[in-house]
């Protein structure tokens, strides 16, 4: 099981973000995407999910191009972007139930409640999420991580809006996932300590094309 990116090039509008990007991710590996603002981190992540088509290069999952096997690939993928994908009018429990069921994995209400309790939302399960704080909303979205069994996690700025306790909790969730043989790609400046497994760093600034780099005078 592996994710391979070969010679990837992405353009947004007229601006080339990066080119000649190569990396491989195997089980028990954690990849940090780095780069200055506008270097294309989110574009790369969306490309890796298959939401955006690259100009050039290949993304291979199990040595198969993802665009040709999208349904099989998406069963193995968990993606969480900047947006929480939760509805203010639904309760935390309803949001989690719907979002989790959408990923095609079944689970009982007990497991859902358990996940909400572990993520620190005990007592808030039945509140409409519009009444929760930003950090609590983020927790509702992150509770899916506790239930998800997909091997590949792609998380865009997962630590935003979380307090210290939640950051620690999330770090431990991610490291447990990687140590158990999972893979994760993160864009964040927050370190995630691992006891086993391997950490890779990929700095997009090194792959930026000349026109794409911001110059500071």
């Amino acid at each position: 099981m592996s994710l391979t990116v070969a010679n990837l090039q992405c353009t947004r509008g007229d601006r080339q973000l990066f080119s000649g990007l190569n990396f491989q991710l195997k089980p028990k590996q954690l990849l940090f995407l780095e780069g200055q603002n506008g270097s294309g981190k989110t574009t790369l992540i969306r490309t890796l999910c298959g939401l955006f088509v690259a100009d050039e290069g290949d993304i291979l999952w199990q040595d198969q191009p993802i665009q040709e096997h999208l349904e099989a690939y998406r069963k193995e993928l968990f993606y969480l972007g900047h947006l929480n994908a939760i509805k203010g009018d639904l309760t935390a429990l309803e949001n989690l139930r719907f979002n989790h069921a959408m990923s095609g994995q079944n689970c009982r209400d007990d497991d859902l409640l358990n996940a909400l309790e572990r993520i620190g939302l005990y007592g808030y399960e039945d509140f409409p999420t519009r009444q929760l704080s930003q950090g609590q909303k983020r927790r509702v979205a992150l509770a899916r991580l506790l239930l998800n069994k997909s091997p590949l996690w792609i998380l865009d700025e997962p630590f935003v809006a979380l307090d210290v306790a939640a950051v620690e909790l999330l770090q431990s969730i991610i490291s447990k996932h990687v140590e158990a043989g999972g893979m994760a790609i993160l864009t964040t400046h927050q370190a995630v300590p691992l006891t086993q497994g391997e950490v890779q760093h990929l700095n997009l600034d090194q792959y930026a094309s000349q026109a794409g780099t911001l110059s500071y005078v």
């Binding site: 999910c49 298959g50 939401l51 955006f52 088509v53 349904e71 099989a72 998406r74 069963k75 993928l77 993606y79 972007g81 900047h82 947006l83 929480n84 994908a85 939760i86 509805k87 203010g88 009018d89 639904l90 309803e94 719907f98 979002n99 069921a101 959408m102 990923s103 095609g104 409409p128």
Partner: protein, 223 residues
């Protein structure tokens, strides 16, 4: 696959029931537009009976446009749509579920208030029956074609006006055959069958093509 369909349908209905105002806006818009015409045109019974089919259908077209912009917008804004695109289920099933919810919330109520039009325009019971039947056949088409427009204009500024410009011309067949059948039913020798058959054909055609077209449009909008 059917489970996913039901799940999205149930969620959309639940969300709408928690914000009931949106359902009633469409319904009252329809009733107000329909009741303005007798005030402007006059209360001559013959004239009202003649314009009733067209008025009812045009009001229905405009009313169903009202809620179209919101069809995908809230899911787009909070990231749910992105997550839906990433699920292993085919996107056209998800889209079909959202269209069904849209019809249940905006199309079906119009069918049910059609007798009000009958009272305002001095229509016979038989004509009102035909009107309800044609609305029942035609309003799902409005939701399905409208969804294509909503998906294409997603995330654009001023999308609401653009949807109307894109979609209203495509509603013309529904308007022609829908109101044609009602006009026929007011005549002694009227035969509504050709209209019914043509409108049913449009219904089937849009049932097959619109989920697929909408799904493709959504993928482009989200890129």
């Amino acid at each position: 696959m059917f489970k996913t369909f039901l799940m999205i349908l149930k969620r959309d209905l639940k969300l709408a029931l928690r914000r009931r105002s949106e359902i009633f806006t469409v319904l009252f818009f329809f009733i107000i537009v329909v009741s303005l015409f007798p005030l402007g045109v006059g209360y001559d019974e013959k004239t009202l009976q003649r314009i009733a089919p067209g008025v009812a259908w045009i009001a229905a077209l405009l009313a169903s446009m009202l809620a179209l912009e919101r069809l995908f917008l809230s899911d787009y804004a909070d990231g749910t749509l992105e997550q839906m695109l990433l699920t292993p289920q085919p996107l056209s099933i998800l889209v079909l579920a959202k269209m069904t919810a849209h019809w249940l919330l905006t199309g079906l109520p119009l069918v049910l208030v059609a007798p009000v039009v009958g009272i305002l325009y001095h229509l016979e019971a038989k004509t009102v029956g035909t009107m309800m039947f044609m609305l029942l056949l035609g309003t799902p088409i409005l939701s399905m074609i409208g969804a294509i427009g909503a998906a294409l204009t997603l995330g654009l500024r001023g999308g609401g006006v653009l949807i109307s410009l894109l979609i209203l011309p495509l509603y013309i067949p529904v308007l022609v055959y829908g109101s044609g059948a009602i006009s026929e039913s007011t005549l002694q020798s009227g035969n509504i069958e050709p209209h019914v058959l043509l409108l049913s054909a449009f219904l089937l055609l849009s049932l097959i093509f619109s989920p697929w077209a909408t799904a493709s449009a959504l993928k482009i909008s989200l890129e």
